[in-house]
């Protein structure tokens, strides 16, 4: 299926917002504006973008420690994301979470997690809710190749299968879990192929090609919305920055490998198919947005320490 230029431009714009936001975050990290960890998604933007373009605001996304891209693609503003990492009251989680704990239920970003695994189960749970409540909403989990070796993967995919839950499992296979290559951590590194073990459809796509991701996700979302049950999508991709800002990025992978993947940068790949002046216009627009977001975040107040213990329970 071929997409309209409008669709392509929209996809490009989302990817660019993610890219520019995170480049700004990386700079902010260097000057100490970010207090905790910061895992960027640079190089993997096509995945969140291609998947979320098929989702509605009332679909539910559950994500992981590397969640900036999912948040932005699902509708969180760069300003709210940056403010969160800067620890401000205007942050998407009111400064409570930082990079790994992003919550924006109003746009269907149900949470990212500093623990690897739970998002898979929670997305199945959203699928359960949506089926129980007779809606056509879907739940989506984004997770890494590393998470695919965790028991949560096994239990989550199996439950989604037997109960035909409207859930899409998106494995972002960037070939490493921190510095451990998937070939060393998985007896069978073909993640999509493992779908058979659960009796569900599994597809592997080029995760740097946003259109391929978009198409695979469209099919999976359709299947889920129409009662056809879950799908596992493995997106082969690559993070081109270090595992986390400030960490070393040598020893475990060669510069050649990194360069080869940079040559297949998802933004470049898509830009090649689009009019240069449109790209330039988007670039300018996004720059303005990110600059404003940065100013907003930097100038936002820190949360009031008196609020540090509110909302542990529902009544207060």
């Amino acid at each position: 299926m071929t997409q309209t230029t409008g669709t392509l431009l929209a996809l490009y714009r989302t990817m660019l917002v993610v890219r520019r936001t995170e480049e700004q975050l990386a700079r902010a990290h260097q000057v100490g504006l970010i207090h905790g960890a910061c895992h960027t998604y640079v190089g993997e933007e096509a995945v969140a973008t291609g998947v979320c373009a098929n989702l509605r605001a009332d679909d539910a996304v559950f994500s992981t420690h590397r969640g900036h891209g999912h948040a932005l693609a699902k509708g969180v503003s760069p300003a709210a994301l940056m403010a969160e990492l800067f620890g401000r009251a205007t942050g998407v989680s009111r400064g409570r979470g930082g990079s790994m704990h992003l919550f924006a239920p109003e746009v269907g970003l149900m949470g990212t997690s500093g623990i690897v695994g739970p998002c898979i189960l929670q997305a199945a749970g959203a699928g359960y809710s949506f089926k129980l409540l007779n809606t056509d909403r879907v739940g989506v989990a984004f997770f890494g190749d590393g998470a695919s070796n965790n028991g949560a993967f096994h239990e989550g995919l199996n439950m989604a299968s037997i109960w035909k839950l409207p859930t899409i499992f998106v494995c972002e296979n960037n070939l490493y879990a921190t510095e451990v290559p998937i070939s060393q951590s998985a007896g069978n590194p073909n993640v999509a192929g493992r779908a058979i073990a659960y009796g569900i459809p599994g597809v592997q796509v080029d995760g740097n090609d946003v259109l391929k991701v978009y198409e695979a996700a469209r099919e999976a979302v359709q299947r889920a919305r129409s009662g056809g049950g879950p799908t596992l999508i493995e997106c082969r991709t690559y993070r081109t920055r270090a595992h986390s800002e400030g960490m070393r990025d040598a020893g475990y992978r060669g510069a050649e490998e990194v360069e080869a993947w940079k040559a297949r940068d998802p933004l470049k790949l898509l830009a090649a198919q689009l009019p240069a002046q449109d790209i330039a216009a988007i670039e300018a627009e996004v720059k303005t947005e990110i600059d404003a977001a940065y100013e907003f975040a930097r100038n936002s107040p820190y949360p009031d320490p008196a609020t540090a213990t509110t909302h542990v329970f529902s009544e207060k």
Partner: protein
């Protein structure tokens, strides 16, 4: 008044809630057509079918994680976990996710999930079917922890659990499941954090005993024996350990001057330690004697009857502990 078993009382609350609220569903092993290992869901499958009474694979972490996501998206899951020991496999989901989601989302998400099932030593269930880890859940911010000791409390506390928006550990001692007691037909809810003064000590009472779950019955038996010697005891059942109604305990202590906490679970860092610590913090001047704890032995639970009996308090050891405390 009508008498029901403890299990039937809780089931009545569940059935009524499910009739009213279609967003409630139950998950567990054998809670569908089978009606639950402990008859917790008998009859409900026929009414509501598999979507609302869902037999699960043996994947405790998985289905609790699933229920977490469901609770975040408009459903009200009830996890029927059979034995508390089994869901230790889900502690990551419980402590890192369930207990934290409301806080981390700054109150924009609720977490209306009820986890219910059996606890306690008894019947040679041995070490993988005897755990009562309520002090652990009381330690962690974000959980409500209910320990009903009577059918009346089981229904009333379960109603509260099902109506709130917080994660609730609803823990049913295995030796209580088939005990009977009066249970009103009408709807009622017992708020969390309200202890019950199960036995009034009277004016000349010189000792307060706090007893939890199955230890309450043992304590009451000991009190009957003591009463024959003219010794009166005030007995308090906290009913929930999070929140903990310390005020009721301290009021009693103020009158009696002596406090014993009877808890079949492990002593170190247990709820008895918490009660004692609060007593010495807030009521030192009321203390006529050391605060005493009577706990289960610090050991895994053995199987053989004489061994099993040796690792938990009973009416006789409770009686002795009360006499010792009065002698201090």
């Amino acid at each position: 008044m009508r008498e029901l078993t403890y299990t039937a009382a809780a089931r009545e609350a569940l059935a009524a809630a499910m009739a009213k609220d279609p967003s409630i569903f139950v998950v567990g092993e054998g809670i569908g057509a089978r009606g639950g290992n402990f008859n917790t869901t008998t009859g409900l499958y026929d009414l509501y079918g598999p979507m609302r009474l869902r037999d699960t694979p043996i994947a405790e972490r998985g289905f609790i994680g699933l229920c977490t996501g469901a609770a975040m998206t408009g459903s009200r899951p009830v996890v029927d976990f059979m034995f508390l020991d089994f869901i230790l496999d889900a502690m990551g989901e419980l402590i890192n996710q369930v207990a934290k989601i409301q806080y981390m989302s700054d109150g924009r998400l609720k977490m209306p999930i009820v986890l219910r099932g059996s606890i306690g030593v008894g019947g040679s269930a041995a070490t993988h079917h005897s755990g009562s880890y309520y002090s652990i859940f009381a330690h962690i911010p974000g959980f409500r922890v209910a320990l009903p000791s009577t059918p009346y409390d089981a229904k009333g506390l379960f109603n509260t659990a099902l109506r709130g928006d917080d994660p609730v550990m609803f823990l049913e001692h295995k030796l209580l499941l088939n005990t009977k007691g009066p249970v009103p037909e009408e709807d009622y809810a017992i708020p969390f954090g309200q202890a019950s003064v199960v036995r009034q000590g009277g004016r000349d009472c010189r000792v307060t005993v706090v007893a939890l779950a199955a230890m309450l019955r043992q304590t009451l038996e000991a009190c009957d024996w003591l009463a024959k010697d003219g010794i009166s005891v005030e007995v308090i059942d906290p009913r929930t350990v999070a929140p903990l109604d310390m005020d009721t305990i301290l009021q009693s202590l103020h009158c009696t001057g002596r406090l014993l906490i009877v808890d079949e679970t492990f002593a170190p860092c247990g709820i008895g330690a918490e009660i004692a610590a609060q007593a010495v913090d807030r009521a030192l001047d009321d203390l006529d004697a050391p605060v005493k704890r009577l706990n289960g032995a610090q050991t895994p639970t053995p199987y053989s009857p004489p061994l099993e009996a040796a690792v938990i308090p009973n009416a006789a050891t409770i009686e002795a502990a009360i006499r010792d405390l009065l002698a201090e």
